[in-house]
Symmetry: C2
Subunit: 192 residues, 2 copies
Amino acid sequence: MDTKSLIIDIATKLFQQKGYKGVGLTEIIKACDISKGSLYHHFPNGKEELLIACLQYLNEEITNDIVDIFNRYPTTQEATNAMISKLIDNFEMEGTLIGYTFSSMVSEMASLSDPVRNACAKLYTEMQTIYYHKLVADGFSNDEASSTALMVTASIEGGMLLCLTQKRAEPLQVISQVLPKILETRRFKTSE
Amino acid sequence: MDTKSLIIDIATKLFQQKGYKGVGLTEIIKACDISKGSLYHHFPNGKEELLIACLQYLNEEITNDIVDIFNRYPTTQEATNAMISKLIDNFEMEGTLIGYTFSSMVSEMASLSDPVRNACAKLYTEMQTIYYHKLVADGFSNDEASSTALMVTASIEGGMLLCLTQKRAEPLQVISQVLPKILETRRFKTSE
DNA sequence: GTCTATAGGCAGATAGAC
DNA sequence: GTCTATCTGCCTATAGAC
């Protein structure tokens, strides 16, 4: 792996765990085992440029991952269940929620930097778009699919915050159980 | 208002807007028009002690406010609607979501400080308890009330993050429209 | 492309006068 | 209880050798 990719990979995890301001460049270069000069060679505009690169990288990682899961399950309900299960497994193994969250970057930087805010907005939008298409395929109207996709995104993001405060995966498990109430297709199923 | 209350009041707003690491002590004392020595007289253990005091203050403010709203409306559905409306009004007037959110403190500090994490956890728990009791009064079973209260908390918290990234109040409006799907009393329960 | 060395500023925190 | 002055250390960022 080339140095630039290595920096992005490690910095992304650190930013997710500790937030943007919570991670210093010194910590990043130590974790990468490189020098400060090397970092600034790849990101001449400094830390914020690195953060945006991380958010773009995260965007691809997350959307690829979700698309992959959504292709493997017939309905949105089953797909979101599988997705949350994966999040929980990750949380219980790693101890941190480095999966699909970037809430620390949002809440810290949204009011301070428009480029960062826009990168975060784009990521949320792409996640919702995936949910949206699956919901339309499930038989939802466009309006209902759109609002439901937003609700899924918000509740999972909020659920991650609850998991972080409690150091337990239970909140996400509960959300996984409640989500079917809004994901149930509003038409009669042909089987059963 | 005494100096200590003034510091807590102003620091709380700043922490909510910019996050814990995003606000310096210098910024706080300038906004309060006091000196650093005065701040350290009231909070001898420094910034983290101040943050926890802010979270406790926020706890009282938020729970009082929510209890007040919940007493004025007959059902959970109407009460949450009114609560979200108030959040949105605040957001559109002030430009920032300093209402019931402290997500920046959670996501920044949860992995770094247990006292802070616990203060945040307590706040979330108290909010959910208010929802829980109202839902039980609505006729929900204890289990359903508990999981629904968690879902309401998570979706509103996540909705605020979406509002912050988009600089628009629409996400919270949509959530307000979708929430009835899980808040409808199941008194005309359909067999599954 | 990677390194070392360092600049310049601001962070949180402290000491002691009044 | 509030002030000014100051300390130490970390922060981002830069310069220039190899």
